[in-house]
Subunit: 218 residues, 3 copies
Amino acid sequence: MRMAAEEMAVFWVGTALFGIATLVFALLGRLGRSNKIFANSNFLVSFITTVSYTVMAMGIAITVAPNGQPIYWTRWLFYIASCGILTYEISVIVRKPSEEVFEVPFLTGMTMFCGFLASFLVGVERWWFFVFSSAAYVSLLYVLFCSRSRSAADSGRIMWFVSVTWSLFPLVWVLAPTGFNVFTTFVESILYLALDILTKIAFGLYAILRQTEENVTG
Amino acid sequence: MRMAAEEMAVFWVGTALFGIATLVFALLGRLGRSNKIFANSNFLVSFITTVSYTVMAMGIAITVAPNGQPIYWTRWLFYIASCGILTYEISVIVRKPSEEVFEVPFLTGMTMFCGFLASFLVGVERWWFFVFSSAAYVSLLYVLFCSRSRSAADSGRIMWFVSVTWSLFPLVWVLAPTGFNVFTTFVESILYLALDILTKIAFGLYAILRQTEENVTG
Amino acid sequence: MRMAAEEMAVFWVGTALFGIATLVFALLGRLGRSNKIFANSNFLVSFITTVSYTVMAMGIAITVAPNGQPIYWTRWLFYIASCGILTYEISVIVRKPSEEVFEVPFLTGMTMFCGFLASFLVGVERWWFFVFSSAAYVSLLYVLFCSRSRSAADSGRIMWFVSVTWSLFPLVWVLAPTGFNVFTTFVESILYLALDILTKIAFGLYAILRQTEENVTG
């Protein structure tokens, strides 16, 4: 396991950034009124992600790819909780009828759990779980896309943002040592951190601002 | 671990059958309107079961009974999710008042988690968890039976079907290498597959047909 | 691992006491009408705790502190489920607005999961997770305290009881071999058992009696 120290630095940066984001979302939830649900769920998402980065920074539970690169598979188990909250938040924003909403956290859980299995295993059989994870992810996008309400003007825009940024995660997975080994675990950890900031912190701030505005104009 | 290859063939058949069932339920959910909730939850149940059979087919995580027979304990952990959805579906069909419904997934989870512990352990202490699992299961049946609504004409019939077919799982457990070792893990895997098809695919199709009919006549 | 037999006796006492409590709460749920939700959730809490004590009594999964004392970390994973139900029950008693209630089980889960990591790890890095667990716990108390309804006359009293008794758990953790090693795992197991009886059985009986009275007078 060469270069473990390099990834660890990236993970500690993740801990610091998401730690700060946790405090910011906690404050926003106490200050505002209208945006409480979004601030509170983003607070939880950032908190869970902070713990996830700390676990990776300590290298507590990893497997090793055939070429010796370490694989930090715990990330995907924490995503079950954090992305489950996020996709629920997204389904509220795009105004999905509530009796169908129960599918969304289950499909998110399947996506992330199969992603965990695909990362934990290092043999060729891992691709089975990559396919299952992708199938769950495509179903999730289908459910969110098809049943979004036309009444929320920007629901299409939000769904495109979510679809594009979330789809970069499996792309990184395929190119990293978990997949075809095009780049190292160090590069992988930087790319995942950038995507985590985009889909969890930036998206969270947008969701809160949007809601505050809607309450002012609406 | 003799005969592992034989069970693995059974598990791959399970993957194939539940993979097909996943696609069929996904299609039924998109075609119909009235039966959407049932089709969607059966889609999830079949999807989870497909992943469960694949994990067993790869022999990823097993313990070995004193007589050398392998024990595939991961099955019971996947049942927490799949049977949790199924018992929720059943409680909707028999029209349980919603404020009590929260007990049902917890009792299902206890049944399956203690079933996992009973299967994972190979010493005599495993029977403690068999007793706990059975107690949770009896409580679950009691809750579903007692509070079913008389207004749903076939709720009694459904509850009898569920009680009989689900009770065959612990019977197989007791006779398999997990219990008294009357038959082999190979026979066990065939019996569980038959029960899975009955309680998950056949029951799922019945629930959807029933709902479609109710909407036509009602 | 000296003295393992002593703790095991304590754990078996825990199994017996919570086994009896499970039966009592099951009976109370069948007898009464008005207090059904509380009796049922306390039944589940006691049932989960019974299984937890049995797992510890068998010493199935433990780590060993640097001074040779065993650490029974499974306790904290079972608390995710049992205390999640308890904090939900508390939030119903203090009449929290329901759209915010979803935070409560997640913060309880974070408290207990980070408590598991802090107990599972034996190096100095475990204190990170003690801090995360404490942060989640303080947030949980804040959420329950701030949004309690004035209309429930005793909600303040209940919250003080909960705050004081629940806060003794991390105190025991800090003084036990998991923390600064002031007393042994045997003493720890007795203290946790006393706290479990106070926060789960005694509190549960109070919640049911209170509800029954409220229905008589109200």
